[in-house]
């Protein structure tokens, strides 16, 4: 089963990298950009039947830093998608 994890900064956490990219886009003349936030995408091949709970634990224990980041879990081959806002 293919799983895609999106890790991104929580709303309100300053993203200097996003701001620098925003500034560069403006420098190129793209004046319609209102905000840029940069995150990380992780694609994993996991055993079929790996539970949502296990995927959430992977995110909470290593893939995301819960102090500043949120994550979303997306299953890529047809399995019902689960969005991984931890409880």
């Amino acid at each position: 089963m293919k799983v895609r994890i999106l890790v991104r900064l929580k709303p309100g956490v300053l993203d200097p990298q996003g701001r620098a990219v925003h500034h560069s886009l403006e420098g190129l003349g793209f004046n319609d950009v209102e905000d840029v936030r940069i995150g990380r995408m992780i694609e994993m091949e996991v055993a079929d039947g790996t539970s949502d709970e296990t995927l959430q634990k992977m995110c909470e224990q290593l893939l995301a830093n819960m102090v500043i980041e949120d994550f979303a879990i997306e299953k890529l081959d047809g399995a019902p998608a689960s969005v991984g806002e931890p409880a």
Binding site: V13, L14, P16, Q17, Q61, L62, L63, N65, V67, I68
Partner: protein, 234 residues
């Protein structure tokens, strides 16, 4: 002679990508007179009877994923967390500080510097807490100069956490100047029990009085002397 301690057993942990481990070992030996024990990250156990554990600077595991994230999950960190729980002093410098926050031994996280650039220079710090095992040879409010060299030193925690650690007197060092965007200018932070210190500046690069001020100076020496003295008088 003149060395203050007998049998001060300090351990320095090396991760793949650590690059300040030797500096740390040299500083510990220079102050204590005892050679530091070098420990490899893959070891599951620490040597018996350590009096001090240092997590050095560098780029552990290439800083993949997040700075310090992989090292925080390495086998030796379990042993370090246990030792910290028993009260053994643990010092994390730079990447070591990042490992301490990622492991949960210290709250918060070290984000990319606000200015996006790697910062490598000597900075002025204010000693905020001169009662800990690491800082008792300083005085509260003292200004010292210690070099920094980091890309991810921008300390972040939520307001509630910041208020709590400030209220508990756990800020050990604060930047006297704008350096990297750290919340409340926090440069060094203690755990609740006071036996774990994480700091971005490198005290191990500032132990030689003869060095030119631009090369570090000697203001970091008292930190190691504090720890050695604490052991000798304990």
């Amino acid at each position: 002679m003149g060395f203050p301690s007998n049998n001060f057993r300090a351990g320095v942990i090396t991760f793949p990508g650590s690059n300040c481990d030797r500096d740390m070992a040299v500083a510990l030996e220079a102050v204590s007179g005892e050679p530091a024990i070098r420990i490899w990250h893959g070891d599951a156990d620490l040597p018996e009877g350590l009096d001090f554990i240092a997590l050095p600077g560098g780029f552990s595991y290439g800083d993949y994923l997040r700075s310090g994230a992989m090292a925080a999950k390495s086998p030796i960190l379990k042993a370090v967390i246990d030792a910290a729980g028993r009260g053994v002093p643990v010092l994390g410098v730079c990447n070591g500080f990042q490992v301490l926050t990622e492991s949960g031994l210290l709250p918060g996280v070290l984000m990319r510097n606000a200015g996006q650039t790697f910062i490598c220079r000597s900075v002025e710090l204010k000693v905020e807490n001169a009662t800990s095992v690491f800082t008792r040879k300083y005085t509260t409010g003292q200004s010292i100069r210690i070099p920094v060299a980091h890309h991810d030193g921008n300390y972040f925690a939520d307001e509630e956490t910041l208020n709590r650690i400030e209220g508990e007197g756990r800020v050990a060092f604060r930047y006297s100047e704008k350096v990297n965007g750290s919340r409340r200018d926090i440069a060094g932070l203690l755990n609740e029990a006071g036996n774990v210190l994480g700091m971005m500046p490198h005290p191990e690069r500032a132990i030689e009085a003869a060095a030119h001020p631009s090369l570090g100076g000697a203001d970091g020496r008292e930190l190691f002397e504090s720890a050695v003295k604490a052991l000798v008088t304990a």
